[in-house]
Symmetry: C2
Subunit: 300 residues, 2 copies
Amino acid sequence: MSILVVGSVAIDSVETPKQTRERVLGGSAVHFSYAASFFSPVQLVGVVGDDFPDEHLVLLRKRNIDLAGLQVIAGGKTFHWKGKYLPNMNDRETLEVHLNVFGDFEPQVPEPFRRATIVFLANGAPMVQRKVLEQVVGPKLVVADTMDLWIRETHDELLALIKRIDGIVLNDSEAKLLTQEENLVQAGKRVLAMGPKFVIIKKGEHGAMFFSAHETYVMPAFPTETVVDPTGAGDSFAGGIMGYLAEQDNFEPATLKRALAYGVLIASFTVEDFSLDRLLTIGRPDIDVRLEAYQKMLSF
Amino acid sequence: MSILVVGSVAIDSVETPKQTRERVLGGSAVHFSYAASFFSPVQLVGVVGDDFPDEHLVLLRKRNIDLAGLQVIAGGKTFHWKGKYLPNMNDRETLEVHLNVFGDFEPQVPEPFRRATIVFLANGAPMVQRKVLEQVVGPKLVVADTMDLWIRETHDELLALIKRIDGIVLNDSEAKLLTQEENLVQAGKRVLAMGPKFVIIKKGEHGAMFFSAHETYVMPAFPTETVVDPTGAGDSFAGGIMGYLAEQDNFEPATLKRALAYGVLIASFTVEDFSLDRLLTIGRPDIDVRLEAYQKMLSF
């Protein structure tokens, strides 16, 4: 199966209590793609300026990430985010956002990508996410991410989008905001009632929850001693899920559940270093070793 | 095996966003004992005033909770706590605390209780907890709870106590405070380095973490849609753990892990109503049904 992801490709500057990294590779589509590429080829649609370093393109292409849908705007600058993590490494402040070319992003799905089986709409304006849906033909699974900004400012458009997709991934505070419900189990069920077939609530260091008509379950995060930089954890979580689903070529409940576990584990690697640095050092066998430890941890 | 618990017996008044309950049965030793009594007889040491309703004594005795160590102070008033939960049902404000007879509590372990196999020192001043240790003879397992107040104000006494016990149960913010470490995995390991054989960190709605020299694991909370009143969840969690250990008559790692699961599940019932109300409606088979669902939830 093929996976299409549409989202941001960015340059991030990250401050943590212990270290700082300037201008490293980031963006939702990048984190998603790299994580998914452990399992399956990926087709990426996004936009960068001509300041975007070639080495990043080389890195992604080597992973079987097709960049035919990556627009490079001549004279434009790449989306740049600068953020600072608080000592708890969970909360963060945005210090600077320069949307640059991403501010006018009009996703153009290349002809060969339009029949992708799985589509992931990374965090973006619901109107932009909808434009992607209008360009794809008969996807079997469409999943979207969102954020507080869209819940607050484009509420109706977001609800309209949610009705049209199969799954939604959002974090705990976003689920509470969207449903005005503090209990996460109830919040998840309310999002489910908005139309999708499944809802995944990300809880950061506490793991994730899954909701469908027939199942509600929780998976804890893999206990990680070394949290260097949580940036991209949510997107690599989604990438692990979708990548595994594409590899398995089915969306059965048991496959989805195992996919969620892979998502949790990929995210546990992602946070162990800045940008993609930790993922660059591992292969599929490392993920499977951690999966085995995770399964053992949850058996009693 | 016999379990001895020393802690508070209280009257609680609880406000939640949806409901209020005045003067219901509470206290750490009560919640612990009732939860443990699903698995094993319990010996309780505590103190109340002569205002303490007889019906509560009857209720506890019916559960095979031996109250020979419950001092009743003539003319005294029972410890009364009044609190209010914030809409997230996790954070709470204390509105009133009347320690009353609990303020001068001098635990007296009756002769027949002194050879208890398992001892649980519910939250209390480390000096008071130590007095219990001085009265018991050759317990096989001693576990203590604590709170931010003791970490801040009786730090050295607490550290001295931690060195002498087998296990400690504390919540996430207490673990961070005690170790000055924000990462919970590192915090757990640092508490372990203070001397006990195992450390359990409670994460409220997110479950619990376990640390020993050879194991680190996390268990999520059972997803609970109906959170009416979280008061006592932590104590009933500990009660479920200790009760199951007493029933199984061993402290092997596999038994401890299953005990932790029982603790998580008893707590998931506790929060479904005020005081002991939800636990009053269930029996061991209900807990085992939930255990099976929990195991299924964590299998993939």
